[in-house]
């Protein structure tokens, strides 16, 4: 078998059965990274030596667990004791975390092999992975296309089979949107389901970690390993993780799928609306009841998000002052000058824009008009979902309005870039889980580009949500497609 052409679960089982060694599997992925990453730039740093060392430990029986020998990639927003943690920012160039994130610890304790850190939009701020301090990430499906963001490196690495699974973070759609644009599965769990300890903070009430994979079963297994209460994170939910979370082939009974007219805009690429229509038919054929739900405040998601997220970011990023860690200017005349020059030299333009927007929204005279109002509308958005889930088990909707856009197409127009997240942001504001899965293809100027459909569920109902997603996946072949531009090793 070729280890890079299997699913994560299949690879895990093959290693356990000794059909392939962890060393062979890890070597195969490292070779693929070496061959492709010059073009894709999905990785920021690769831990080749350490990965091989751990693989040999698995083969020697010294390292066991639910992911024993499975090579995974970690977004560079998570603290790892090996290598650096940079958030793709010059501000954190060379930063070596003195601790590792809870999620990284759990993956390592489960026997996973960490291949390296994936590239991302600086401090997770972006929807295209063009805001990376050391250059953009390329979408494996098209050299001139963005992979989405901010977890674009994690999604691209997954799509190009440069890892068996990868971990990203989602603040307003940063897992689901790149998963959609790269044709892979991306899961944002309920806020609080996965510990954020060791995750570099962007917007603390929204940030959540989740997996990328080729299949729903793989995502479920990764989530099972990552999830659970963590006393080190005061926002981590003390709610038990279902034992059978990774058994996605259990069929949910009396399935009700919600459709909201607010997500089926004429502004969507026709291929996206067609993908949703086909998904609806798949569920109908499976006996599901399709119900109409109303999410009247959907269009207010972006304004709320860009006030709430930037307000929290302006506070979280105040810590980068050039004193304790991070970039320090060599030009400072006094302490305040040191703060300002260090921050100006260390942060990229998108980060500066968001810090300023958040500072403005929180400043005297504007707090009530912007921040407080945004928090009130956030409640209305959550109430929309609460009402919708009284009528259905999951909401089926697009992840994005269309396929991957071209590099440079939106970089000079931040608002246009922000609007890209219109269908992912509401779930983030409400804290509910959402999963993107391959749902078809669009023809864009002769390029065949993937489209992701999205399923949203009630809080802490990941098990049911993944089973509903699996029902669709089992009836389609979209998840088996691979990009040809990535080439073979």
């Amino acid at each position: 078998m070729n280890p890079t052409e299997t699913t994560l679960v299949e690879l895990r089982d093959a290693i356990a059965a000794k059909d392939v060694s962890a060393e062979q599997a890890t070597r195969a992925y490292l070779d693929r990274i070496e061959s492709l990453d010059g073009k894709l730039h999905a990785y920021h740093e690769v831990f080749a030596e350490r990965a091989m060392e751990r693989a040999r430990d698995v083969d020697a029986g010294k390292l066991t667990g639910a992911l024993a020998g499975v090579p995974v990639a970690i977004k560079d927003v998570l603290a790892t004791q090996r290598g650096t943690t940079t958030c793709s920012s010059r501000m954190l160039e060379g930063f070596k975390a003195p601790y590792r994130a809870t999620v990284v610890r759990k993956l390592e304790e489960a026997g996973a092999i960490i291949l390296g850190k994936t590239n991302m939009d600086e401090f997770a701020m972006g929807s295209s992975c063009e805001h990376c301090a050391w250059g953009p990430v390329t979408n494996p499906w098209g050299e001139n296309r963005v992979p989405g963001g901010s977890s674009g490196g994690a999604a691209a690495a997954m799509a190009a089979d440069m890892c068996a699974g990868s971990i990203g973070s989602d603040t307003g759609g940063s897992i689901r949107q790149p998963a959609s644009l790269c044709g892979v599965v991306g899961l944002k769990p309920t806020y609080g389901r996965v510990s954020r300890w060791g995750l570099v903070a962007f917007a603390s009430s929204l940030d959540q970690l989740g997996p990328f994979s080729h299949t729903i079963a793989d995502a479920a297994l990764l989530l099972k390993v990552m999830a659970g209460h963590d006393p080190l994170d005061s926002t981590s939910a003390n709610i038990a993780v279902p034992d059978d979370l990774d058994d996605v082939d259990i069929k949910p009974e009396k399935l009700r799928i919600g459709l909201a007219k607010q997500y089926m805009s004429d502004q969507n690429d026709p291929a996206m609306n067609e993908a949703i229509e086909k998904a609806k038919q798949v569920y109908q054929q499976l006996g599901a009841e399709i119900v109409e739900v109303d999410l009247p405040h959907t269009d207010y998601g972006i304004p709320v998000y860009y006030i709430v997220a930037t307000a929290e970011a302006s506070s979280n990023l105040a810590r980068y002052d050039g004193v304790h860690y991070g970039h320090r200017t060599t030009q400072a005349e006094d302490l305040v000058d040191l703060y300002s020059r260090s921050r100006s030299e260390g942060f990229g333009d998108e980060v500066k824009r968001r810090i300023m927007l958040g500072t403005y929204a929180l400043s005297s005279g504007y707090y009530d008009a912007y921040y407080l109002r945004a928090l009130k509308v956030r409640r209305l958005i959550k109430q929309d979902f609460d009402s919708a889930f009284e009528k259905c088990d999951a909401i089926l909707c697009p992840t994005t309005t269309g396929p991957a856009f071209k590099m440079g197409e939106k970089t000079d127009d931040p608002l246009s870039m922000y609007l890209n997240d219109v269908y992912t942001v509401p779930a983030s504001l409400a804290g509910i889980p959402g999963v993107t899965l391959p749902g078809g293809f669009a023809d864009a100027e002769g390029q065949r580009l993937p489209l992701g459909i999205q399923l949203l569920g009630p809080a802490y109902q990941e098990a049911k949500l993944l089973r509903i997603a699996r029902c669709y996946e089992a009836q389609t072949d979209h998840h088996r497609a691979r990009p040809t531009t990535a080439g073979a090793v």
Binding site: G94, P98, Y191, S205, S234, T235, A237, H297, D299, Y300, I302, P303, V304, Y306, I307, G322, V323, H324, Y325, G326, H327, R328, T330, Q331, A332, E333, D334, L335, V336, D337, L338, Y339, S340, R341, R343, S344, K352, R353, M356, L357, T359, S363, Y370, L372, R373, L375, K376, V377, R378, R379, L380, K382, D413, P414, L415, Y418, A430, G431, I432, A459
Partner: protein, 98 residues
């Protein structure tokens, strides 16, 4: 949003901007704020603000002594240090540089 406001917010944010950046950010932030003004369409008079999606309670850990970072670890990423202290330019008196 005016250029003067952008300069003021940059100062509050501890950011130094070039004139070109001020000009660019003024336009871009004005666009975003115009879009955000959409929130004024809604009557939110009687809506409780929601800062967090989940019900949160104060969480306290056991008041137990444990090992923290060593001085070496704490200073490990410092751009400048004079163990066991972080080193910064003078705040009072003649400026000393970084």
């Amino acid at each position: 949003m005016t250029e003067q406001q952008v300069r003021h917010v940059a100062k509050l944010s501890r950011l130094r901007l070039s004139d070109d950046q001020v000009h660019q950010f003024t336009e871009q932030l004005a666009d975003v704020l115009d879009y955000v003004a959409k929130l004024n369409e809604l009557d939110v008079e009687n809506v409780e603000p929601m800062a967090h999606a989940m019900d949160l309670l104060n969480v306290l850990r056991e008041d137990a002594e444990k090992q923290g970072l060593s001085v070496e670890e704490a200073l490990g990423n410092a751009p400048d240090a004079s163990p066991p202290f972080f080193k910064v330019p003078k705040v009072l008196g003649e400026a000393s540089g970084a």
